[in-house]
Structure formats: structure tokens, C-alpha cells
């Protein structure tokens, strides 16, 4: 009888350890899945943001594959409203910005009505509140259009995903 109880105890310990390993592996897998969802979300945003009518260039109602920098200046001011929060941070908290790369801008910093077009290089169009400093950065090249000068420059769309 004692032997049977001992065997059952050992068996329970073995099964318990097995379950512990299984659930630990499972939790790790769920965390990985969550990271994958954020990864996917940032990739979708990298493609969709460039085609948003709020930012995309349009000439007499015809759209073109570029981003209008004047539209960006305006968009910055109202993008923190609820509708856009849902668009930019529905799955994961993401900061979205544009940056000029070529030709190398003479000055760096945020573009505002006073610094645009030549004394700035960045448009931060959406920042979630209390955005952490721990984030993963994804970017894709974008053509930036300057309507006042009728110029196109090479820039990039940056999506920073909070970890």
C-alpha cells in the first residue's frame, strides 16, 4: 500500500513538472504571438499610411505615390483625436512620423509652421500618450512632396512600436 502511495506521489510530481513545462512554453508562445501581431500591425501601417488621403499627394483629384508635406503639417494638429488613435494604435501603441533623408536637410527638428520647409526634417504625426522609450523601429522609404517649391525629396515613414 505504501509503495503504491509513493508511486502515485512520484507520478503526480512528474505530471506536475510536465504541466509546468508545458504552460511555461505556452505562455512564451502567446507572448511571441503578441509580438507577431504588433509586427504585422506595423507592417500594415507602413503600407496603409502612405495611401491615406489625409497625407497622400493629390493633383486635381488624381492621387500620386507621394506624401504631401503641407498636408502633414495640418494632419499633425488633429491626428491625436480618437478616430486616428484607433487607426494608429488599435493593436499596439505606435508612434508614426516622417523624416527627410535626401537631400540632407540643413537643419533637424520638428516641422512647424515657422520651421517648414527648410529648417526641419521631421513630422511626428501621431504619438500615443506616455509613449515608452523602449520600442522597435520600422521604416520604409517615401517620396515627400513640397508643393510650395514643387519639389520631391526622398524621405521615410517611421513606425515605432512600443515593446
Amino acid at each position: 500500500m505504501i509503495e503504491l502511495i509513493m508511486v502515485l506521489v512520484v507520478l503526480s510530481i512528474v505530471i506536475g513538472l510536465g504541466m509546468l513545462f508545458f504552460f511555461k512554453a505556452n505562455i512564451g508562445s502567446i507572448q511571441e504571438k503578441a509580438e507577431d501581431v504588433c509586427d504585422l500591425s506595423s507592417s500594415v501601417l507602413l503600407s496603409s499610411a502612405l495611401a491615406m488621403p489625409e497625407m497622400q499627394c493629390s493633383f486635381n483629384t488624381h492621387t500620386k505615390d507621394c506624401v504631401d508635406t503641407i498636408k502633414l503639417l495640418e494632419f499633425k494638429d488633429f491626428s491625436s483625436s480618437r478616430d486616428y488613435s484607433y487607426h494608429f494604435s488599435s493593436n499596439c501603441r505606435q508612434r508614426v512620423s516622417f523624416q527627410v533623408i535626401y537631400p540632407e536637410p540643413s537643419a533637424s527638428g520638428e516641422c512647424t509652421d515657422t520651421t517648414y520647409p527648410d529648417n526641419c526634417n521631421t513630422w511626428t504625426i501621431y504619438t500615443p500618450s506616455d509613449f515608452s522609450s523602449d520600442f522597435a523601429l520600422y521604416s520604409t522609404p517615401a517620396s515627400l512632396y513640397y508643393p510650395l517649391e514643387d519639389e520631391y525629396r526622398v524621405g521615410r515613414l517611421i513606425v515605432e512600436v512600443e515593446m
Binding site: V7, G18, Y102, P141, A142
Partner: protein
Amino acid sequence: MKKRAQMEIFGFLVIVILLVVVGVIYLKFAMTPSEDVLSEARTNIEVSNFLSSIMAYTPCPGNSLEDAVKNCENNGQTCGQDACNLLENELLSALNAYNSAVWGGKYDGYTLNIELSEPISIMQGDCFNTVLADSYKISTSGGLIQVYMQLCY
């Protein structure tokens, strides 16, 4: 009789332990993440977007590098310079600027081939390992001109 029963229980225990060990090993391999397809897709889009952005770039107002390609085919000028020279200089400068500012110099080399009647080939650095490539088509009255870009890392 009692000893035989003990032996059988011990054998059963050994089998259970073996099964648990095999199960844990299986789970470990089953949960190994698959190849990062998303990252690869993102990089391919990046190359494609870079090509279209650089072709839209205007070295001077009203004249894009796409115009320079067309003018180069006709031995013409763009922004008051020889279109072919301007094209080569600007493409190389833009690639160098983007590679150092954004890609952190991760690409060891790049090649750009423009299929004109007198083809232009721009090469920089080494191209021994993995290659990312894409093309951009420019429509002209004489047909399509293709611009191929390869990034090597």
C-alpha cells in the same frame, strides 16, 4: 507476487517518465518559430519604395530623376547639366545617403542598371552575398525603360 507487482509499477513509471520527456522535447521543437516571412516582405517593399521615391526625386524644381532617365536616352539635359551625368551622380549620392542614414551601412554594395540604348550601370562596393533586387519601369514614347537595383549585404 508482491515483488513482481512492484517491478510492474516501476516499469510503468519509467514508461510515463519517458513519455513526458518525449512530450517536452516535441513541444520544444513544435514551438520553434517559422521563418520570418514578414521581415522579408518588409525588406522587399522597402527596396521597391526606395526605387519609386528616388525616381520621383527632383534635383531641381519640375525635373525628376525619371525625367533625367528620359532625357539621358535622348542625350539631352536636365537641370542645365548632362542628364546622364546628373542621373549617375544623384542616384549614387541618394543611395549613399540613405544607406548610411537609415540602413546603418548594412548594405556592402549596390548596383543600378538603367536599360537605355546605351545602358548605364552604377556599381559601388562588393556584391558577394545575399542580394535584394527590384525594378522600376518608365514609360516613354519609344517604349519601356527599366531601372534595376540590387542591394547586397
